[in-house]
Symmetry: C2
Subunit: 344 residues, 2 copies
Amino acid sequence: MDVNEKLAIVKRNTQEILVESELKEVLKKKSPVVYIGTSITGSPHIGYFVWATKLADFVRAGFKAKILLADVHGALDKTPWDLLEKRYEYYSIVIPALFEAIGADVSKIEIVKGSDVQLKKDYVWDLYRMSTFVSVHDATRSASEVVKQTESPKLSGLLYPLMQALDEEYLGVDVQYGGIDQRKILVLAREVLPKIGYKSRVEVMTPLIPGLSAGGKMSSSEKHSKVDVRDDEKTVNDKLNAAFCEVGKVENNGVLAFCKYVILVHKGDLSQPFIVDRPAKFGGALEFRTYEELESAYLSQKVHPMDLKKAVAREVNALLEPIRKKLKGKEKLVREAYPDEGNV
Amino acid sequence: MDVNEKLAIVKRNTQEILVESELKEVLKKKSPVVYIGTSITGSPHIGYFVWATKLADFVRAGFKAKILLADVHGALDKTPWDLLEKRYEYYSIVIPALFEAIGADVSKIEIVKGSDVQLKKDYVWDLYRMSTFVSVHDATRSASEVVKQTESPKLSGLLYPLMQALDEEYLGVDVQYGGIDQRKILVLAREVLPKIGYKSRVEVMTPLIPGLSAGGKMSSSEKHSKVDVRDDEKTVNDKLNAAFCEVGKVENNGVLAFCKYVILVHKGDLSQPFIVDRPAKFGGALEFRTYEELESAYLSQKVHPMDLKKAVAREVNALLEPIRKKLKGKEKLVREAYPDEGNV
């Protein structure tokens, strides 16, 4: 695979790259490293497949990938400190299972625990150093779209972006990848690392996908907007069935977005079609090999929302199967990690 | 020495204690611990004798004393990171010499380097925890009289007070002692330690003494307001001679304040008089055993500013003598620690 082919894979479905010329240089390296951090906050949902799918692209393009299970960041963003270790345990079961589900080469993916890095002497020294170069104003601004906003913001929310910047250095990565909501933090990272003597990294950003309910992104903290990875088959079917999915419209269509960023990518890489069953009287099953084909069929109303939802529910259930298996027998852990759910 | 006697020694020349009932309990302990932190920022001046004298009081009252040479705090408050180690080296020569100069029992005084404590795993974990309980607003407010204020305040200035609070726990102290300018930080410390599971400490505060020039406190960063511990005999005499010291007035009188908080305490403990020479035609030498006697003589103009200044200059030079000796041969270190002075 030459650099341009690698670039094409890394670029697909991204929204912004800072900056592409540097990314090209990175792609020439023998074994470049990319990382994404995920805060141990809410409960992972199927939106996580979006970034898992993108990370698998990086692996396919020759990258070694690191996933930072950011426990400290989770607590800095209001996960109760006393639940942190259980949440971490839960994430460290679910996240690798996500990658198995999409058939990624897990030998190229390393899980790193945030607190294993972020309590080290050198790291903390650098964090102190960095704090003398970043204004309260800039730290506040950079965190504004990521850290939960409250009336009386805590100091922790300002440490959050600085640590995310420093993680790039301490994980030894060439590229950080994140959602476009991370943009201000990633820009801060590029600005601030050179001030303490380190090089800026390439930042790759993907769009946020709409939630399943109307409006807003798919978010751990909005229960109805998402399918939790723990949802059983019936719940998945019910949630998809109730999803906001306007006839012939692509905007704010979380169902279609999931096809674009996950299902069709995944199917395409496996050279398998995405099959949408329709009642025989409407013409029977359709096969799609690219998202563009699907979108065009949906726009022209050859594919009805109800048929699409059923097809997507089937794929989601298939993706969740390996995760459900890994979570068998972990009910106690789940209760301890999420004591407020009450219904697990 | 009973608890009331100990209390009297600890209380003398203080401005506020939070809270006295707790201090009494602490004084019943076999070997209570007090600490003061001093940031490695400017160059130590004779104002440092004020807190050294107070710390010697604590030692006399049965305390073990710790002095935190706060290198990280210095950097968080704008000491250049590349000078920090040299500044620390310099402070660690000067500060113990201050205590020798006032005849304190140095066997009871331990010097602790800030970065030896503040990079430890548990400390940092607690700092992260603490940051989730302290609002940006409260951190800003608490640091406002201590950290140098700028138009674009840095995040470091907000970490400063949290770390000062946490130092109480990690130094294992019963009491923190500081100038009244530290009040908001010390109040924050009392509020925030219990939130992360530690007990509040007693906070003892002394007034700030006026500088030698008119107005303002004696400060490392205001060159003319202070006598640097490196000043030679002639410079000390000249600075005292030029000091603001109004006839018969106690207000804003840094010369008289130095008598109150250092010279008369020191002389009193040694059972020696403070001698003010006057020309024979004005009545010759006067001896004072308490500050009150001196103040009353000054108010009634029996002691003229010029006579007082000469007497104080003599005492200051005597106090600086052991420090000068310790700094013999350290000219290179001084140049490296203070490269901008240019005149050393």
